[in-house]
């Protein structure tokens, strides 16, 4: 595939899912807007403690292999978007000037080093033009938009000052609890 068409294709993919949904609530003076914002913030804050994260993980250091600028990097198994590692950021921090979205979608990815499943938080970095580098679309355990917490087909620039999508980071939340 020619580079130009690859970029166009990546851009089309982002277009398909360059979401940027709402949340311009901060400066809204309406009571309804304030309640909406408060509700979403509470939802976001309340979300983390409910995640099935195994406690022992907190004391361990994570061993990793792979290229964080590659779509095949293990943390990106359910990431759709452009990699912040290619855009001036890291796997866990946004590029300069981009604002991290506090509300995320979550994937479960297997670390090839220890063969264990980890919960990964995919946070979009927002408020700048879309970084059209290292565009990925991975769908491991990804679900449709009517199940939003596991859907990567939406841009997650929620709760940020500016909501244009820039890129995505992937933070490890912990070891995924097993069913048994």
């Amino acid at each position: 595939m020619k580079k130009d068409s690859l970029i166009d294709k990546s851009y089309a993919w982002l277009d398909r899912h360059t979401g940027d949904s709402s949340r311009q609530l901060a400066r809204s003076t309406s009571r309804r807007g304030f309640i909406g914002k408060l509700g979403a913030m509470l939802a976001g804050v309340a979300f983390l403690p409910l995640l099935p994260v195994s406690r022992p993980f907190a004391q361990e250091t994570l061993g990793e292999i792979g290229d964080p600028q590659s779509c095949d990097y293990w943390r990106y198994c359910a990431l759709s978007g452009t990699l912040c590692t290619c855009c001036g950021g890291t796997t866990t921090s946004c590029p300069p000037g981009a604002e991290i979205s506090p509300i995320t979608w979550v994937g479960t990815c297997r670390n090839p080093v220890d063969d264990m499943d980890y919960l990964i938080s995919y946070n979009d970095c927002c408020g700048k033009s879309t970084c059209r580098r290292c565009s990925c679309h991975n769908t491991e355990r990804e679900l449709p938009v009517y199940y939003p917490s596991k859907s990567n087909s939406v841009l997650w620039c929620f709760g940020t000052e500016a909501r244009n999508y820039h890129c995505t980071v992937a933070g490890v939340l912990g070891v995924a609890a097993t069913d048994d």
Partner: protein, 368 residues
């Protein structure tokens, strides 16, 4: 020397005289002709390109808010297009304004806009925008990530209100003034509107799928009397409504043999249905679980009345979007992964033409 001078003099006098007979071009402006059923829209990051599938010629373009436009829908009876769009006052930042923009058929120009809450789920998907059966109310899907629907009266150009729809997405119009949604608990939700566009009733179906086990795609297709949903594993669910009673009938587009060969549906806009003929066109690939956005290496044609496959089309280049036109001799429009845009005879299953230089990749396709 004298001869040359005479020739030069002759030419100097003669050429202007000849040019004087040539009328200069008049630079003007086209208006769009009446759309035919063979027309379709390729919605891209640069706007919506309108093509005639019969000739392959571009007819015009809608300048949409590119990445911030969820969907666009033509409506023939009023000769208008509707688009749900978000704009920022400073390009990618600044104050946000969400609007439903109405474009006319003649000039493809905005003729009205209705401001709606700044909540549009800007993911570009056809199912994020839908006009009710009576053509009066436009429903726009919101996500903040709280899920809701904004209702706009497009006849009177007014915003009616917002309906909270927690856990449900995708708008599927049914009957005159109602719509269905797919919900994360494995059900379908019916929302009924009154004449003014406010919610008058809401009904939930029984659970018929388990999202963590085998989710249905968030791209349902309209049938003659309801909607058809397909699961990631290839199960099919016919959804219909009688009064407020929702009925779901399950079957499968893959046989046991297909499943053994690991054939799965996949792509982005992976399926389309010719309502009168009852023919489903769906992109299929061989793969494992969670490859639901994998482009299709084949298109399967399924007769939904007989509930069996009647044809397979092998693709040279995998495709991720398709749409079938609704005319009696339908065209199947296929967007492949190398930006090719192809027009098939949807009954003969043969390529009729490939659109030259189709512009940016199609995010999705819309028929007229």
């Amino acid at each position: 020397m004298r001869v040359i001078t005479l020739i030069a003099l002759y030419l100097a006098l003669w050429i202007p005289a000849a040019n004087a007979q040539l009328q200069p071009d008049t630079i003007g402006q086209e208006t769009m002709s009446a759309p035919a059923e063979s027309w379709f829209i390729s919605k891209t990051s640069a706007g919506a390109y309108i093509y005639d599938g019969l000739s392959g010629e571009m007819q015009g373009m809608l300048s949409l808010a590119s990445n911030f436009t969820a969907s666009v829908q033509p409506y023939g009876p009023r000769r208008e297009f509707y688009a749900a769009e978000s704009y920022y006052s400073r390009g990618v930042h600044g104050d946000r304004t969400d609007v439903v923009t109405i474009y006319d058929y003649e000039n493809l120009s905005p003729v009205a806009e209705i401001e709606i809450p700044q909540k549009i789920a800007v993911l570009s998907m056809p199912g994020h925008l839908a006009l009710t059966g009576n053509g009066r109310h436009l429903a726009v899907f919101n996500m903040t990530p709280a899920q809701s629907v904004s209702i706009v009266d497009v006849e009177n150009r007014t915003f009616v209100g917002e309906i909270s729809t927690p856990g449900c997405a995708v708008i599927m119009p049914i009957a005159d003034n109602d719509f269905l949604m797919i919900c994360g608990d494995g059900t379908i939700q019916l929302i009924q509107l009154d004449d003014s566009g406010n919610e008058s009733n809401r009904v939930r179906s029984e659970q018929f799928f388990v999202v963590e086990e085998d989710a249905v795609f968030d791209l349902p297709v309209r049938t003659k009397d309801g909607w058809l949903l397909i699961s990631h594993a290839g199960k099919a669910f016919d959804v219909s409504k009688e009064g407020t009673q929702l009925t779901v009938s399950e079957w499968s587009i893959v046989t046991e043999e297909d499943a053994e060969e690991k054939w799965l549906p996949g792509g982005w806009q992976l399926k389309s249905l010719h309502q009168e003929l009852g023919l489903l066109y769906i992109l299929m690939h061989q793969g494992e679980e969670y490859t639901h956005h994998e482009p299709g290496s084949e298109i399967w044609v399924v007769d939904i009345k007989q509930r069996r496959r009647i044809a397979r089309i092998e693709l040279e280049v995998p495709a991720d979007n398709l749409v079938v036109t609704q005319e009696s001799e339908p065209k199947l429009i296929v967007a492949d992964t190398e930006d090719g845009l192809h027009v098939y005879d949807a009954l003969q299953m043969k390529v009729e033409r490939t659109i030259e230089d189709p512009g940016p990749s199609a995010a999705f396709l819309v028929d007229f």
